[in-house]
């Protein structure tokens, strides 16, 4: 080496950046010369194929290869072999091959504990619907509950217990894990054992925790929810002394005033709320409630409002007090509480629409006792107290339900208690922390530094289904059973207890979390058995619950009855609403500085507080308002964006109290000025291939010392950061000020709307816009027997998107991923179109579910060169996957753009073939073909259900009826907005909607004669004109 240097160093300075060898670095001449030749000297010298290789020529080799392949093909394959049929050795009695079984159970995806009906085929759960007999959710279940089936088969579930080592995790067996943990727990002595968990809604689980406490007396339970109604409940206790905020008779309210309350979106049991709300949006009974929404962010409730006003959350208290003062002035109520407020000043100062406020005041007077004012979870306690007082004074107390009231089995830990826990950890007073299926590292405010605190705890045990931020920092990770593999019960309101039963035995080496605790209580790892918790549950019911029921039937009968039904009704009286304590209102908190920007942190509509972030179906479910998938973003108003000089997709830095986050901006029409709304639940780490790195972790902005409320922070700031970030939206965002796109949906009569007063005056006003039926060049087909059709009542459709997920599950629709959504290649058969009209500050929002319209004269059918899409005699537009060659002419010719093309075999395309896992194949609906690359697909009106109904009718020997079939979207719709049936069945309920005076078809002027009727939305406003 040294000689190279000596030779060349003087004239050649080595290039310090890139070199492959020292010779090159010091520019050895031989090396430089050799670099110019493709082969080194002598490499090709001896190459003589005839000598150095075997004597077979290429031609001969290929001939031999071909012949041997042909012989092998003939000799080894029996082309007639069709495989095997392997029947059961002993067939389970309840299984009929090819027929589903349904089991009633309880959904534990959120604390609402809805009753569910799990459809299983040959022992595999394949679909979840609401339990029709359950008194709370009445056969409906939200998108998260539907998509929960994907969590069960998630290939990334932890499949055996893990123990942390220096580099990662080791697999260990349950016995070892149990004995280690039991040893650690019994050494705790007087040091605290902290159990951190979400809401506990199971009475039997509560009993397990009590047993745990008596075995380990230093145990303390911290139950938390990132989003909760603690402000509302503590306000209730201050106002009325005891109890919980009651359930509301939404269906009887004539006027609903929602103050930053998303009761149709994420607050409370939204399935029940939506159903009750939509009951009084009925075109047949012609009874309409009126919804006023006064809010800061555009929410699902906001888009359904009849009147909507935008104010910042800090002003809500002054707004309620001003209303109170105005009503007092008008002599409707008498109170001196609000004497310091004036509605006219408030309206003036905050630039509210005077007319709308007047309507609100007049309605509150006119419907005194039949109205309800409802404040949102994110508002602080004093707003809730003011609202309680106002409702009380207006006599709206009789809209509080008296048949049932919410029950808290265990109070949520306050922020102070959580701070205390962290303090104890840092002082070394904690012996062990046990996380029960929760994720506090992600959920707790980042200034508590919980993640690093866990390092100071001698033993951290996390019970979880899959890896997450908390599990990553635990000594032991114990995998727990999924909802559908577990036993349990739930009680979150008086009068009903729900039962949860497993429908499949654990897929992996997992255990039920209650059984794990019971094993530790017994101090012996040998105690565990598959039936441990089942026996405990039954015993608890027999000894504690059964006697209190004073039932006349014996326990076993009652138990199996309740198990069959999925719930048990009990004779329990609801709480009494006492007299209000007017002095509970603290007026000193009223003056809040509203300068600067307000940050509002909300729960994600799709992934909740993050616990569904690993679920592709939910990630790809478009946001009900913005239609954005796979991301969260900072939503700001049009004016705020202008003043910041930012556009959609620009990155901005949001900071509050020194906590900072950079994320993309999205201009949301209808948001209050000077507010930023960010949805939490995204930006997960260590959480598997689907959840990790999706969106931004805005939990970092949470503080343990909030000044206004846990989710609203005043004095935030927002600055433009460098760069852009693409948000994947399923709908174009047209400019409001472009005359070509503005209100196009109204001009083309895609959306037809009216008002209730116009409808009362002129019931057939919609029919005036409808074009006359045109002649067709084709002879129309005569549908003499069945003809399927759908009617969608836009008065009831809220735009929540539950139908989309139901359709995905039923029809094996794949998840495509954000990159494909950006290219508009999402595969959902059903979409919800959202249209804005009016100004970007105060838009009117219309939603419309859009699916294949099954046109009688379908434009897609005429252009298919291979006749892959045809019409059936019962009116269905059929899609034959085997014939389809993928020309995409049909999609091009479809005026509704409802056809979806498989650009890839999306199962191997999405995130490294995540969906190709053999586990996920268990989830497919066996009655629906799994489509491959290169074929077109679209809504089939759930033809598999129609054919099933036909075979059932043939079995009974009766003709099929329109009511025999319910499509998946129809079953899922919480408000029953979707009707399906026989267009020729003139005496059916469906026929009323099909021929309704408010009914219209979309793009009717094209004369394609669709079979989906839309019932025009009526807005319950005071004028006849919109």
């Amino acid at each position: 080496m040294s000689d190279y240097r000596e030779e060349n160093n003087l004239q050649n300075n080595p290039d310090p950046n890139y070199w492959r060898s020292f010779e090159e670095l010091y520019k050895n001449e031989k090396t430089l010369e050799a670099r110019n030749h493709e082969f080194a000297d002598g490499v090709t010298d001896d190459f003589n194929p005839n000598e150095s290789l075997s004597g077979i020529s290429r031609r001969k080799f290929l001939a031999l290869l071909g012949a041997s392949a042909a012989f092998a093909g003939v000799a080894c394959s029996d082309y007639r072999d069709k495989g095997e049929i392997v029947p059961y050795n002993v067939k389970p009695e309840e299984i009929i091959l090819g027929k589903p079984n349904f089991y009633a159970s309880t959904c534990t995806a959120c604390p609402n504990s809805c009753g569910i009906l799990i459809k299983t085929r040959e022992g595999r759960p394949i679909k979840v619907d609401g339990n029709p007999e359950h008194p709370v959710n009445r056969g409906k279940i939200c998108a998260k509950g539907q998509a929960n089936i994907l969590n069960l088969y998630d290939p990334e579930r932890i499949q055996q217990p893990l123990k942390k080592n220096s580099a990662g995790f080791d697999n260990i067996d349950w016995k070892k894990a149990d004995s280690d943990i039991i040893a650690a727990l019994s050494m705790a002595g007087s040091k605290e054992i902290s159990i951190v968990t979400h809401t506990i809604s199971s009475p039997t689980f509560l009993k397990v925790l009590e047993d745990f406490k008596s075995k380990f007396p230093s145990t303390k339970v911290y139950s938390y929810e990132l989003f909760n109604n603690s402000n509302r409940n503590s306000a209730w206790i201050k106002s009325y002394g005891s109890g919980n905020f009651p359930l509301i008779k939404w269906n009887e309210a004539k006027v609903i005033v929602a103050l930053d309350s998303d009761f149709l979106g994420v607050e409370g049991n939204r399935i029940e709320n939506s159903r009750l709300f939509a009951e009084s949006r009925d075109v047949n009974s012609k009874s309409f409630n009126r919804l006023y929404v006064i809010e800061s962010s555009m929410t699902l409730t906001g888009i359904n409002a009849d009147y909507r006003m935008r104010i910042r959350p800090e002003l809500q208290f002054a707004f309620v007090m001003s209303l109170m003062n105005e009503l007092n002035k008008k002599g409707v109520i008498s109170t001196s509480l609000a004497s310091g407020f004036s509605l006219s000043d408030f309206v003036e100062k905050n630039n509210l629409d005077k007319e709308k406020v007047n309507y609100l005041i007049n309605d509150l007077i006119a419907y005194k006792g039949k109205s309800i004012i409802h404040a949102g979870d994110l508002l602080p306690e004093n707003v809730h107290i003011a609202v309680n007082i106002l409702n009380d004074l207006l006599g709206n107390k009789n809209l509080y339900r008296n048949d049932s009231s919410p029950v808290n089995l265990i109070n949520l830990a306050s922020l102070d208690e959580i701070k205390e826990l962290v303090g104890k950890i840092s002082n070394g007073q904690i012996a062990a922390v046990i996380h029960l299926d929760c994720n506090p590292v992600y959920h707790f405010p980042s200034d508590l530094n919980y993640k690093n605190m866990l390092g100071k705890v001698p033993i951290v045990v996390t019970l979880t289904e899959r890896m997450n931020e908390t599990a990553q920092f635990s000594n032991y990770i114990l995998p727990v059973n999924h909802n559908f593999e577990s036993w349990g019960d739930a009680k979150n309101r008086t009068g009903v207890i729900s039962l949860q039963q497993p429908v499949i035995s654990p897929l992996h080496n997992t255990r039920q979390k209650e059984a794990i605790l019971l094993t530790w209580i017994s101090s012996s790892p040998e105690t565990f058995s598959e039936t441990l918790y089942h026996d405990y549950l039954m015993k608890h019911w027999e000894t504690d619950i059964y006697p209190s029921l004073k039932s006349k039937i014996e326990f076993k009968q009652l138990w199996f009855g309740a198990l069959h039904d999925g719930f048990l009704l009990t004779n329990e009286s609801a709480q009494n609403v006492g007299n209000i304590n007017l002095s509970s209102l603290d007026l000193n908190q009223a003056s809040i500085d509203t300068k600067g920007i307000t940050l509002i942190l909300r729960e994600s509509y799709q992934v909740g507080d993050g616990r569904f972030a690993n679920n592709g179906w939910l990630q790809e479910l478009p946001h009900p308002v913005s239609r954005i998938t796979w991301d969260n973003y900072a939503a700001i108003s049009h004016n705020t964006a202008k003043s910041l000089n930012v556009e959609n997709d620009d990155l901005v830095e949001v900071s509050v109290g020194g906590r900072k986050l950079t994320l993309p901006v999205f201009i949301q029409a209808g948001n209050a000025d000077d507010t930023i709304t960010i949805e939490l639940g995204y930006g997960r780490e260590f959480s598997g291939i689907v959840a990790s790195g999706v969106g931004f972790n805005a939990n970092q902005l949470l503080s343990s010392k909030p000044d206004f409320s846990n989710w609203v922070y005043s004095n935030a700031s927002i600055t433009k950061a460098a760069g852009k970030y693409s948000l994947a939206s399923t709908q174009e965002h047209h400019a409001f000020d472009n005359p070509r796109t503005q209100d196009l949906h109204l001009k083309r009569h895609i959306i037809q709307e009216g008002t209730v007063s116009l409808y009362e005056k002129k019931p057939d006003f919609i029919q005036e816009h409808r074009p006359k039926e045109l002649e067709s060049v084709y002879t129309p087909f005569q549908y003499n027997e069945m003809k399927w059709g759908m009617a969608i009542d836009l008065n009831k459709c809220l735009g929540c998107g539950d139908c989309i997920v139901a359709c995905n599950v039923e029809n094996n629709v794949p998840v495509v991923g954000k990159d494909q959504v950006l290219k508009s290649r999402e595969m959902q058969w059903l979409r919800i179109d959202r249209y804005y009209s009016g100004s970007p500050d105060d838009p009117r929002v219309s939603v419309q579910p859009m699916l294949c319209q099954h046109c009688d004269q379908a434009p897609c059918e005429n252009v298919c060169p291979v006749v892959a899409t045809t019409h059936s005699p019962d009116g269905l537009n059929q899609m034959v996957y085997n014939r389809c060659v993928g020309t995409r002419y049909c999609s091009n010719n479809c005026p509704y753009k409802v056809r979806r093309f498989n650009f890839f075999n999306f199962r191997d395309h999405f995130r490294d073939g995540y969906q190709e896992s053999s586990l996920l194949t268990l989830m497919f609906n066996p009655e629906v073909t799994v489509r491959s690359r290169g074929v077109m697909e679209k809504c089939t009106f759930c033809v598999q259900r129609i054919e099933e109904a036909r075979s059932e009718a043939a079995r009974k020997g009766v003709p099929i009826k329109g009511t025999d079939v319910k499509t998946a979207c129809q079953e899922a719709c919480p408000t029953n907005a979707i009707h399906f049936g026989d267009i020729n069945g003139k005496d059916s309920e469906f026929y009323k909607y099909r021929t309704h005076e408010l009914g219209y078809y979309v793009l009717e002027e094209l004369n394609v004669r669709p079979n989906v009727t839309y019932i025009a939305k009526l807005r319950n406003i005071h004028t006849e004109e919109l």
Binding site: K82, V86, V90, I96, K99, Y881, R950, A954
Partner: protein, 190 residues
């Protein structure tokens, strides 16, 4: 010798055409013969079960074993336990029954060779056909006479449509009870 047009035709065109015709005919014949569709396929089964004995001589109803045939898409192959309903007592000493008992005792499912198959994308429904009164033998042949079951008819889409279109010719005895079978796509494909 002067080359004429006729010469060219005789020398080149004719043999080529004859070759193409013969080879297409042979190929078509080979591909379309019923054996290609599995007709006559009679595989060796793990248990030498005789339908002739059970269904023919002893006249056990098809539905005794194929219990799902009137309830579901699938006729259902009986579980080993069904066989054991009788064979815990009957003919316990025969070699095939000893083999069968072995499966039952060990809890191993019996891997029967599949004979009849429609592709996965065709959703044939047994119950509809049986409940409309169509006899099993219409598709499966006289199984009751078969010592060893084999495929008797072709199970192609053409065969399905042949019956669906000419239902009344095929089943004159059911003329008053059945209509023509559906011919639209989504009756079978979805």
């Amino acid at each position: 010798m002067k080359k004429s047009l006729l010469d060219y035709i005789l020398r080149n065109r004719l043999p080529l055409s004859v070759f193409v015709i013969i080879s297409s005919f042979t190929l078509t014949y080979f591909i379309s013969r019923p054996e290609r569709d599995g007709v006559g396929y009679t595989p060796v089964q793990p248990i030498n079960f005789s339908h002739k004995l059970h269904a023919g001589d002893m006249k056990i109803d098809c539905k005794y074993c194929h219990t799902n045939v009137d309830k579901s898409r699938f006729a259902g192959i009986p579980a080993v336990a069904t066989c054991m309903n009788c064979h815990t007592i009957a003919r316990k000493d025969r070699p095939e029954i000893i083999k069968l008992t072995g499966y039952y005792r060990d809890g191993v499912p019996l891997p029967w060779k599949r004979i009849h198959k429609v592709p996965d994308y065709a959703y044939f429904n047994h119950s509809v056909h049986v409940n409309k009164g169509i006899d099993c033998s219409a598709c499966h042949g006289e199984v009751a006479q078969m010592e060893k079951v084999g495929q008797m008819n072709s199970f192609t889409m053409g065969s399905c449509l042949n019956c669906h279109r000419n239902a009344h010719d095929k089943f004159p005895e059911l003329k008053n009870q059945i209509k023509k079978g559906p011919e639209y796509c989504s009756a079978c494909h979805r």
